[in-house]
Amino acid sequence: MRIKSALAAAAILTLTAACGGGGGESPSSSGGPVKIDFLSLAWQKDSVAANKQLVEEWNKANPNIQVTYVQGSWDNVNDQLVTQFAGGTAPDVIHNDSPALSGFASDGYLLDLKDRLPAELKNDIPQAAWDTTTFDDGKGGQGVYGVPFLQESQVIIANKKLLDESGVRVPTPDDPWTWDEFSAAAKKMTTQRVVPGSGDGEDAMGQGYGVAWPMKSPVNKTLNLALNFGGTFFQTSGGKTTVKVGPEEREVLQRIHDQLHKDKSADPAALGQGTADPLPAFYQGKFALLPAGVYLRQQVVEQAPDGFEWVTLPAPKGTSAQQGAVSQTLSIAQESEHPEEAMKFIAFFLNGANQAKLAKGDWLLPTSKTAAADPAMTTKENGWDVATASAKNLVVAPFLKVNGFDEWKSKVATPVLQEYFANKITLDEAAKRLVEDGNEVLERYQR
């Protein structure tokens, strides 16, 4: 029975975690330094280096509070945390992202930081970012369950040569494309052209496309962009949250679908791929525009062949240019024995100067106002100016506050959107399933 093995696995995890952190549980009164475990999810090379360097810096300056860097992975962090929380062996300082916090907060595993935040840190981060980590505390009040520090916005990474050849207007942060302009531009860039390596390794004429939508994980991307037309996907009335797919929500869905199946301006091969998978085809010029999170610039910089020119364009706008914001966060476990020290470490780790380093390492946007003003964040090089400018359009994604969103996402929304974008079901069917199956899922969390 698999559950049995799962329990055994949990027991082993608990044991190893206990052994790993065993030395660290000695109370500070015994004279030794306080030990804190810091679970980091950094994965890009520069980012891991920046994280480790900051931890080292801290450990040198604070012999009494020693931080241990623990490497985690975005792939399974929530599974890992559920196990560790249940076993009472969670790390003290936890790196995660805001969509995951709501669940852990309402389950009582995370410490409310509301009254613990140092004023300097609190004032350096705008309220809009704090809103992404503020949730019901389950006792009728609101609590802050993490310090938001890196945010992702959507931009369009474009092949400069194809963009210039098409003669379309080049959008700027102050005057982005409308979705109509975006679709028209994509259509214009859908041409027969020489695609290197397309014919048995030889250069040959091939079908070139305007845009690519890698939709292996379509939900966050679509929901964040849906705010362009005011699409929130969830509504709350009388304390009960339900799914809604009205005209506002349908706009972006329909437009992406049109590019794929009506205009045929989107590369069909990219549809089932993960965000970074279409990059090789992008370098070859198979398609010209790749809507993606700002962090993808890092891979383009590192991997693009010599002489490949690219630019960062702002995301298109609908009735507004708003996008849903999701932040990476640092939280403290409720059962941490050293919350004070953990908070001090977080305050150091996320001060303006350090956030700029982390943001550069991860190619994301810092929440800190000081960090955002850093010249490195506003340089034209590698599109930082466009990326940083897009931060002003970030608003709290409505789904962050929805209890049960994660289950809705993986059980209902992901398959439905995948099928819809693959043209297997109509928009009406998709909307019906998102709402009906979705409400059934949410029901479980509202008892």
């Binding site: 029975m1 559950i3 055994a8």
Partner: protein, 304 residues
């Protein structure tokens, strides 16, 4: 602890056997104790705990008071479309993997049983997949199926994302399942083949039976007990498969490869519904026991 337990009991007046457990039985239990403790502690204990959880509304949270809810989880299970979809996928997966695995392994075993050149080397090679943990097999096949850099697309000249395609993902993982499970089936069948008495074939040949006839009337009936044993074991192993599929697809795309065990894992560790997940595990255990019980019972009856 073992030392104190295994110390011989102090001499007592010999009791008449009818008054209870005989001395032999008592000693047997004492001797078995060291072996029993880990089994009880690490297998039976968690199993009972899991069964207990299945009748509660336990959640993996800090603020939730667990209550006994009787059969609520079970009734929910019966009405849960996702579960039935997952169950169906699990049935397709385990039956097709087991059957195809058996056929392929039987073919391979017959081949290896012949006196061919290098048959020793071939036998060793055929066992290689067995030496790999499921996670490594998964990672390896992920590379084979990779849409851009994969060997398979390279060979076929196609441009298919095998593991992300709604209709191809399940067949794709079934192939991996067959490959991964073939060695042990082959080895067991080969051992069975080598136990078939040569005289039977000689007698068969004397009576003018062709190759096909000999296979059908001698090899298969002789192998029967081995076949029953290995197929049942394979079936249980396959229906409980987790690691391989988790690595390959994590149950995607859109739940098309979400085997029942992946479903239970998601319930427990993603959505934190520990009680419901335990019920899922329990239900699967019952299904496996029922299928196996029926199969073994039929075999035993025929054997008599």
């Amino acid at each position: 602890m073992t030392a104190t337990v295994t110390r011989p009991a102090p001499p007592r007046k010999p009791r008449p056997a009818r008054r209870g457990i005989s001395r032999e039985t008592r000693e047997l239990w004492v001797l078995m104790l060291p072996a029993m403790v880990p089994v009880l502690l690490f297998s039976v204990g968690p199993l009972l705990y899991g069964i207990g959880l299945a009748f509660t509304d336990a959640r993996n949270t800090r603020v939730h008071e667990t209550e006994f809810v009787g059969l609520e989880n079970f009734t929910r299970l019966l009405g849960d479309e996702d579960f039935w979809a997952s169950f169906q996928i699990g049935a397709i997966w385990s039956v097709s993997v087991t059957v195809l695995q058996f056929l392929a392994a039987l073919g391979l075993a017959l081949l290896l049983n012949e006196k061919l050149r290098f048959s020793g080397l071939a036998r060793v090679l055929s066992v290689v997949p067995w030496a790999m943990p499921p996670v490594v097999i998964g990672l390896m096949w992920k590379l084979v199926y990779h849409p851009d850099a994969g060997v398979l697309n390279g060979l076929l000249g196609t441009d298919i994302n095998w593991l992300a395609d709604f209709s191809l993902a399940l067949p794709a993982i079934i192939v991996v399942g067959i490959w991964a499970g073939m060695p042990q089936t082959t080895v067991v069948l080969l051992a069975g083949l080598q136990n078939v008495p040569k005289e039977l074939y000689e007698a068969g040949a004397m009576d003018g039976a062709g190759t096909w006839r000999r296979f059908w009337n001698i090899t298969l009936p002789q192998l029967r007990p081995v076949i029953v044993a290995i197929t049942s074991l394979d079936f249980v192993w396959n229906i409980n498969q987790f690691g391989l599929v988790y690595v390959l697809t994590q149950g995607g795309p859109g739940g098309r490869t979400r085997l029942p065990m992946l479903f239970a894992y998601e319930e427990a560790f993603r959505y934190r519904m520990a009680g419901y997940a335990s019920m899922l595990g329990l239900a699967m255990a019952i299904v496996v026991l029922a299928v196996l019980g029926l199969y073994l019972w039929r075999q035993m009856r025929e054997a008599k």
